[in-house]
């Protein structure tokens, strides 16, 4: 609280990026965890909540006629602009927010103060929801060739690895220790994915400390053991996900890559995914493109091209495809590494897993995959997501790229995934929000030392409880082409711009009607009808005498279904004009089943009020959209039910 210079400012105007012409006046509050804007208006609950931990940057703009603009740029790509009447207030808010959004210690993060009304047992239950041991046993481990080594139980051999690691049974402890000494950060080769059909594995590690000529017998034995643990093949691939030039440069620093002459029966392969710095700059450019106001088609496409973002996504996808094909089609095991083995390696292993195993295309499967390949294997979430103030150079959208690869696959295989893109976007949001403890710190050891499980809540159960929102109605698990290996096309035109993520808060850019939401409702309704039918059939059998009465009730059910059906198909919001003049977009649009209810509530009212204001100056004719968008989303009580309301709103019941 000591960082808040200015807890409350009156008469602040709120602008949202997508609608520079419409504003709302209200009061701005700064709390220890949130920035809260409460709009002045007839409706209550006119609120916007922004978590400090989601704020990426706070920028003061040049004073305008109406006041002093303050821009809040969030890590989930939301941009909020306030106009504050007094310069001193603006400055105070700026200073306060600048500090509040740059926490120095983990304890300042929201997950440590987030305290929903659940008891200890429930909280522990939320952490037990995902069990990696169960995941390994689902894969078929341990078995006669692979077992858990106790060597890293105390994180002594490798402090960025999890405590439980699978290695070939034939490998002795000295070999592991020897191998770990020959690998950056001690990250020795260990199992990431096991394919029980053909005993092939995907293993991961960091780069070897080979320099120009060094070799390590234990490391060579380690690879040999991994290769031999796949009885069906006579060699294995070693995939270095870096561009060859980068790997060669590393040799001068005593690191490098495996020399094929020293290792028996390996085939070495470079893949050429760029490093975190290139990716950071690329995403920055992409964000700039996504934020362009009314660009021409040419500007947008040129910007997209110049960002190089989709090129990087394609290279990650190709790497994943190479590995998954090696495993599924050739039956050859693969060892994957990059430099440290926690960025590109995590991306590539997890993309390959999604391609290989239909389980990872289910809701729970994706959760487990992220928990395994990213959280447990020490992807440095705190550094990459910039949870704490620190090296800006450590920040990089590595996990964003993985989620985007999954999204690109979903676009190509609309029936192969149990989840929808809202699931990916929610995960993305929570990775950055620090709302839950899952993505705090850089390794399992750090999380243990910080008692994350005791002090914070886990996101996975929270998402699981809302799984109905995340289901893909088109999912066909039994379809043969959705079984086994997915073979995506990597033709350039298969890589698309992910509008729902990067323009997440620009409502007017998205389709006004959702095919998937509609289908989901239809499906649920069908299921409900089936259940009811079954129920009535039962009753019919029992209440044979009262047959007439039962029939009467059944009729009633169908009538009530009618209303349910019409709900998601409500197209009243269809009627919202777009901006065809070429200026900045000027219309709020509301969408049924929106996620960010906190904002939605606010803008729901705003649309109504400002439409009335604007219609005069624009045309003198009442805006048809106002009544349509107004009535369907009167704010509120939904915010309790809303799946993601906690993203921006308070969850303290």
């Amino acid at each position: 609280m000591e960082h808040i210079r200015m807890p409350k400012v009156e008469n602040v105007r709120l602008l949202v990026r997508s609608s520079s012409r419409r504003t709302q006046v209200g009061t701005l509050y700064l709390t220890a965890t949130h920035t809260i804007f409460v709009g002045k208006g007839s409706e209550d609950r006119n609120e916007l909540w922004v978590l400090h931990s989601l704020v990426c940057n706070v920028v003061k703009h040049k004073a305008s006629q109406s006041g002093y603009p303050l821009l809040i740029i969030c890590k989930n790509f939301q941009v909020i602009q306030f106009i504050i009447p007094q310069e001193s207030d603006c400055h105070d808010v700026y200073i306060s927010l600048s500090r509040l959004s740059r926490p120095e210690k983990y304890e300042e993060l929201y997950c440590f103060s987030f305290n929903p009304s659940v008891d200890k047992a429930e909280r522990e239950h939320s952490w037990d929801f995902l069990d990696l041991k169960a995941e390994y046993s689902r894969m078929g481990l341990p078995n006669k060739l692979w077992h858990v080594t106790p060597i890293n139980r105390e994180y002594r051999v490798c402090d960025t690895y999890p405590a439980d690691l699978f290695v070939p049974k034939s490998v002795t402890l000295p070999v592991i220790v020897g191998s770990s000494k020959f690998r950056s950060r001690g990250r020795f080769p260990t199992l990431s994915y096991y394919c029980k059909e053909n005993h092939t594995t995907i293993c991961r590690s960091s780069q070897p400390l080979s320099g120009f000529s060094a070799r390590c017998l234990e490391d060579e034995q380690m690879l040999q053991a991994i290769m031999k643990s796949n009885p069906g093949s006579r060699f294995m691939y070693v995939v270095d996900t870096r561009p060859k030039l980068n790997a060669m440069a590393n040799r001068a620093a005593g690191k490098g890559y495996e020399n094929e002459d020293n290792y028996c029966n390996i085939k070495f392969q470079f893949i050429g995914i760029e490093n975190i710095h290139v990716m950071r700059n690329s995403q920055q450019k992409l964000i700039e493109v996504s934020a362009l106001r009314s660009p021409s088609m040419g500007e947008f496409l040129t910007g997209l091209e110049n960002s190089d973002w989709l090129r990087h996504i394609k290279s990650i996808m190709e790497a994943g495809l190479f590995i998954s094909k090696a495993v599924a089609e050739e039956g050859v095991s693969v060892l994957v590494h990059c430099s440290d083995g926690w960025d590109r390696t995590a991306q590539v292993c997890s993309v390959a897993s999604v391609l290989l195993d239909p389980y990872y295309r289910t809701l729970k499967g994706l959760m487990v995959l992220i928990e395994k390949d990213w959280v447990s294997f020490g992807h440095m979430f705190s550094h990459r997501c910039g949870h704490l103030i620190g090296e800006a150079k450590e920040v990089s959208p590595v996990i964003d790229q993985f989620l985007e690869c999954v999204w690109q696959l979903m676009e190509q295989f609309p029936c192969a995934f149990e989840y929808n893109e809202k699931f990916l976007i929610s995960i993305h949001n929570h990775i950055y929000s620090c709302h839950y403890g899952n993505f705090i710190c850089n390794s399992q050891k750090e999380r243990k030392d910080l008692c994350i499980k005791e002090k914070t809540h886990s996101m996975w159960l929270h998402l699981w409880e809302k799984k109905l929102d995340f289901m893909n109605p088109l999912f066909k698990p039994d379809q043969s082409q959705n079984q086994g290996l997915l073979r995506p096309s990597t033709a350039p035109y298969c890589f698309k711009y992910w509008r729902r993520l990067y323009n997440r808060f620009d409502r007017e850019l998205h389709p006004r009607q959702s095919e998937l939401d509609c289908l989901m409702t239809v499906k649920e309704e069908t299921q409900q009808l089936e259940e009811e039918l079954a129920l009535y059939e039962q009753k019919m059998a029992v209440l044979d005498k009262e047959r007439a009465k039962t029939l009467y009730m059944q009729k009633g059910v169908l009538d009530s279904k009618q209303a349910l059906w019409s709900l998601p198909l409500d197209t009243s919001l269809a009627n919202t004009p777009q901006d065809y003049i070429g200026g900045a977009p000027n219309v709020f649009t509301l969408q049924q089943g929106e996620r960010e209810r906190a904002e939605l509530c606010l803008f729901g009212d705003q649309t109504k009020s400002s439409d009335a204001d604007n219609s005069d100056q624009e045309s003198g004719v009442a805006d048809f959209s106002s009544h349509s968008s107004g009535e369907e989303s009167l704010p509120s009580e939904d915010s309790v039910k809303d799946p993601d309301s906690d993203e921006t709103g308070p969850n303290r019941a």
């Binding site: 088609m297 090129r311 350039p492 059906w565 065809y580």
Partner: protein, 565 residues
């Protein structure tokens, strides 16, 4: 010259056919006057591929003659066939001579000039008869059905012999108070005689969309009283109307040098002119060529792909068309003013913008019948020169004359609207794809010729079948319906931000692996809806989904019977 004289080799055995994403097939190739027929006779159930020769946009041949070998083994040729529906096929033909003969037959027969020699004049399916009425509606019928027009508008038959405007239909709708003499004078003042006529009257407020060609003001700023009166009668006392000129202000100025021009403020004081630049003709055709070229190489890097996509400018045309249509809708629906749309000739972009505006505004044009009626009224009767514009598609090496894929652009824009409002249109993407194919090569006479006058002269109505009628009769095929259709009375304003517009993969990537997964998704949508229908029962009267499913069932049964026979 008889068509059959072009055929020197009618049959070749042992031809290998290669198609994308299918294994190569061996079989017999036949050339007839209008078709290329490939049949694979390996199994009992022979597989056939029938291609309309008119669908072939370009062929490339290469022959190899290995000297010293017997002819049968040594020489062979490959013909690559590039179709107007963007499919590319390869035929390996044994025998150099046969190969060359076939190639020259295809070249000659795929580019017939005379309309009456084209296939629609020979297409006689057993389930259709030629005696019925041709087309879905006429200007008179449209007028009769649209009660809101009766008060202030009338049907004029001033063009009944096509002398006033050769590209207009015989009947047009004009303001009641303007007599035919004034129309004739106005026509003389408009390029090609395309005087302002009614295109759409908005059901909400009675405002109208008119369309015409440019006025012939010329360098001397000529004026035409009757034209001014005609437009004055359109707005009838209200303050203001908008003229959406589909050229930049500069282009409109330049047009005066060649006799064209624009409506000047001083003579049309109640009309406000807005200029929106639209590319036309050759530039749009070249966009299509570049886009198809970019889509044809999956080995490009992403950068190269995006740069080619950008460079093709196709999506920019989509963007402009939708933006201007949105502007027209804004004038009509939101501001409550009437609009006149024109470019130069008024036969291309003008029709594109006016028909898109109607799709956005008018719920009636979003049903299958309504949409086909819209196309008939605004494109076929309104005189879009289909024969000239669609003579060649993206692959042709022929020198461009008057080709321009404006109609494809319309279909693409409609597809974009469907993407943004997946519940608002009764028809599906499949219907758009079917139209995209039919407009270039068809069994039906609907897209033949350049105007109603030409169609009359060629006897199209008497001697060919109508595509639209056949699409609607007896039941619409399930694949052309949108299972999620839920009509809305409101305008559906599409977003025109570049972030919201996408490449129409269904058309441009139709023959790639990409399309196959989408097909699976479409089937799944249908099965979800059908399952729902089974559970919910047929007594859900105001549910359009149920009604469609009902009409579909008998049709499917019919299909089963056919297969058995």
């Amino acid at each position: 010259m008889e068509l059959s004289e072009h055929i020197k080799t009618a049959n070749v055995e042992d031809v290998t056919l290669r198609r994308p994403f299918h294994p190569a097939l061996r079989g017999t190739l036949c050339v007839t006057s209008h078709h290329l027929l490939f049949s694979d006779r390996k199994d009992e159930a022979s597989w056939q591929l029938l291609i309309l020769l008119k669908n072939i946009d370009a062929i490339e041949k290469s022959v190899e003659n290995l000297f010293g070998y017997p002819r049968a083994m040594g020489s062979s040729g490959t013909i690559t066939i590039k179709c107007k529906d963007l499919l590319v096929l390869q035929l390996e033909i044994p025998g150099m001579e046969e190969c060359l003969n076939i190639a020259s037959s295809i070249e000659a027969l795929s580019s017939l000039e005379s309309v009456t020699e084209m296939y629609p004049f020979f297409y006689r399916p057993s389930h259709l008869t030629l005696n019925g009425p041709w087309g879905l509606s006429s200007t008179e019928q449209y007028y009769k059905q649209t009660e809101r027009l009766w008060d202030r508008w009338r049907v004029s038959t001033v063009n009944s012999d096509y002398s006033v405007c050769p590209s207009y239909p015989s009947a047009v709708i004009v303001p009641r108070e303007v007599d035919d003499d004034k129309l004739i004078r106005s026509a003389r003042f408009r390029q090609g005689g395309r005087f302002p006529v009614l295109s759409y009257c908005h059901h909400r407020n009675g405002m109208v969309i008119m369309r015409s060609s440019q006025p012939l003001t010329g360098a001397n700023k000529k004026r035409c009283k009757e034209d001014e009166l005609l437009l004055q009668a359109v707005i009838d006392g209200s303050e203001l109307g908008y003229i959406i000129d589909l050229r930049s202000a500069q282009q409109a100025q330049q047009a005066r040098m060649t006799g064209g021009g624009f409506e000047s403020k001083s003579f049309y004081s109640h009309w406000k002119r807005i200029h929106r630049h639209h590319e036309r003709g050759k530039i749009v055709q070249e966009s299509l060529i570049k886009l198809v070229e970019a889509c044809s190489d999956p080995s490009h890097s992403v950068d190269r792909w995006l740069s080619k996509l950008e460079n093709s400018k196709w999506l920019s045309h989509v963007h402009s068309a939708l933006s201007t249509a949105g502007l027209v809708v804004e004038c009509v629906e939101r501001d409550g003013h009437s609009v006149l749309v024109h470019g130069s000739e008024g036969t291309d972009n003008t029709l594109l913008v006016s028909s898109l505006a109607q799709l956005i505004l008018d719920p009636a044009s979003r049903t299958v019948t309504g949409f086909l009626c819209l196309l008939e009224r605004e494109w076929i009767q309104a005189g879009h020169p289909f024969q000239q514009r669609c003579a060649h598609s993206a692959y042709s090496h022929a020198r461009l004359k008057q080709e321009c894929p404006i109609f494809l652009l319309l279909l693409d824009c409609v597809w974009q609207v469907w993407r943004q409002f997946p519940l608002a249109l009764e028809f599906s993407e499949a219907l758009l794809l079917r139209l995209a194919q039919e407009v270039y090569a068809s069994n039906y006479g609907t897209f033949l010729c350049n105007s109603e006058q030409e169609r009359c002269a060629a006897g199209v109505k008497e001697n060919t079948h109508c595509l639209f009628q056949s699409l609607l009769r007896p039941d619409i095929e399930e694949q052309y319906l949108n299972p999620l259709y839920e009509p809305t009375d409101l305008a559906i304003w599409p977003s025109v931000h570049p972030q919201s517009l996408q490449l129409w993969t269904g058309l441009f990537l139709r023959w790639t692996e990409y399309a196959q997964n989408m097909e699976e998704a479409r089937e799944e949508v249908w099965s979800i809806v059908k399952e729902h229908h089974e559970q919910a029962g047929p007594d859900r009267t105001n549910n359009t989904l149920s009604t469609h499913c009902d009409t579909l069932t008998p049709f499917e049964n019919l299909m089963d019977e056919l297969t058995i026979l």
